[in-house]
């Protein structure tokens, strides 16, 4: 089904009763050229790029629950490409460029809204670090503007500029950053991939790998039977270690819980995405009017998809320090997602040591913005057997080689990234 003004008009004339499901809920076949484990944004994007860019259409996406039920439906919907380290800068800009044309590519409204991402700074040293990162971005052809306090006072008069401990001195703004509708991203990729023949199989939990005498992965065992595969790619976020363990692998990853929050709906207040630089608090406002915000991970290993109160308090304190008036707004919902925290805060997109198994993991809490880029480079790896040039540094063996990409400079302590 192709969506257009005409399809909308036709459906409107029949009272919107004749819309067809936007993607096909498939039953598993015996064998596929490529099986992707994980029906989140990354897995579905990978399948779509395999079919559309690399001509591999005999592809299945296996999802344990329903598509988009994991982190794709639990994030704070921010998209940006404001990274400073080689490896990250180019990759996230690749992803940003794909966001900008996603809706045309997929024929699906993902509500991509480039309303700007603003990182606030609160000290001279932080300003210098942000200026350096902004310069890195601009050298690489990415938009970045360093704003001083006067510019911010015009833009965001409600900030607590004169806070005694954390005065707001200015900010680094990427105007092309913004938000996208997270569920629509999942449905859009499912729609477009399904149109090209990709099988999307839900309620299909992978329970093991089938291997030949040489140890090569030849398929997966699932709750819906054995499925043969030429290659298997895993894009399972917080469950990466559990799936890799089925193939006998240990990963440089810990699973941690990250909480996110939505307030009651209020009139338009926050124009873009804003981050507090003296703590960890980031906020945007959804189209429905709710303030969507979050902060640090809880800091302990967890697979529970729910967090605890100390971090709730910490996040809300960050919000109050920056925008005191939000103390009057009531919290509506709060939830947790499981992050695959890597040892340097950077993802891993690489062949695994097991022949036939490919890894897309370690996204920490930054996976949503990477969705289209991750799909493209992972499909490239699966189709061409070599890394895409923008993902060439996201290697599994980089920890052994001392080639970490540690954007925060925290070392091998996943709960600090």
């Amino acid at each position: 089904m192709k969506y257009s003004i005409f399809s909308l008009a036709r459906a409107a004339l029949s009272g919107h009763k004749n819309w067809k499901p936007t993607w096909r809920d498939a039953a598993p076949k015996d064998r596929y050229d490529v099986v992707i484990i994980g029906g989140g944004g990354h897995g579905l994007a990978t399948a779509w790029f395999l079919a559309s860019e690399f001509g591999i259409r005999n592809v299945a996406v296996l999802e344990k629950g329903w598509i988009g039920s994991g982190n794709a439906g639990r994030n704070t919907t921010i998209i940006r490409s404001n990274y400073g380290l080689p490896g990250n800068t180019g990759f996230y800009e690749l992803s940003m460029k794909l966001w900008e044309k996603m809706e045309q590519d997929l024929n699906y409204n993902a509500m991509v809204s480039q309303r700007g991402v603003l990182n606030l700074y609160h000290s001279d040293a932080q300003r210098d670090a942000f200026a350096r990162r902004g310069n890195t971005m601009r050298i690489n052809g990415i938009d970045a503007e360093l704003l001083d306090q006067a510019a911010l006072r015009k833009m965001l008069p409600f900030l607590n500029f004169d806070n005694a401990r954390f005065p707001v001195q200015g900010g680094l703004l990427q105007r092309r950053g913004g938000t996208a509708r997270h569920d629509a991203v999942v449905w859009g990729y499912a729609h477009a991939a399904s149109e090209l023949g990709v099988d999307i199989i839900q309620n299909c939990e992978v329970t093991g790998f089938t291997r030949d005498a040489n140890g090569k992965v030849t398929g997966v065992e699932t709750s819906r039977g054995k499925i043969g595969a030429g290659k298997v790619g895993m894009a399972v976020a917080g469950s990466s270690s559990r799936v890799a363990a089925m193939a006998g692998l240990r990963l440089p990853i810990e699973s941690h819980v990250l909480q996110a929050f939505v307030s009651e709906a209020i009139k338009p207040l926050i124009p873009g995405v804003m981050t507090f630089g003296a703590g960890h608090f980031y906020v945007s406002q959804s189209d429905k009017g709710g303030l969507v915000f979050g902060g640090d991970i809880d800091g302990y290993n967890s697979y529970a998809q729910r967090g605890n109160l100390p971090v709730v308090e910490d996040v809300c304190e960050g919000g109050m320090a920056l925008i005191p008036m939000i103390g009057r707004v009531r919290l509506l919902r709060q939830w947790g997602g499981i992050m695959d925290m890597s040892m340097d805060g950077t993802p891993i997109i690489d062949k695994s040591p097991v022949d036939g198994l490919y890894i897309n993991a370690g996204w920490c809490y930054g996976g949503f913005k990477a969705t289209p880029g991750s799909g493209l480079v992972f499909a490239h790896l699966l189709a061409r057997e070599e890394s895409h040039k923008e993902a060439a540094l996201f290697r599994l063996d980089r920890f052994q080689r001392g080639a970490m990409i540690d954007e925060k400079g925290q070392g091998a302590q996943p709960n600090l990234h």
Binding site: R250, P252, S255, N301, A304, N308, M343, Q400, A412, N415
Partner: protein
């Protein structure tokens, strides 16, 4: 989540800091690079019952060994971590 510190009794989570899985043991100085890589970077990342180190910074400042289920956050055992604290408890 609350942790019952063997020295201070039941305290709220905000008093504690997390280190991680208590299983990895620092390799000996002559163990070689692979052993150090394994110790520093690789994790079992257990989904289920795991033994882990927590620090009671907001209380007695002792290191604790906590047995906790990562799927449910249920804590089944809290002991003093190996070292001076544990020797004190044993007396």
């Amino acid at each position: 989540m609350r942790i019952t510190c063997p020295f201070c009794g039941q305290r709220e989570l905000g008093e504690f800091t997390y280190l991680g899985d208590a299983k990895p043991q620092r390799p000996t100085a002559d163990a070689g690079e692979d052993a150090v890589y394994d110790y520093v970077y690789l994790r079992d990342n257990i989904a289920g019952v795991m033994s882990e180190h927590w620090y009671h910074g907001g209380g007695c400042r002792a290191w604790l060994k906590v047995t906790r289920n990562t799927l449910t956050h249920e804590i089944s055992l809290v002991e003093a971590a190996a070292g001076a604290g544990a020797r004190q408890v044993a007396k």
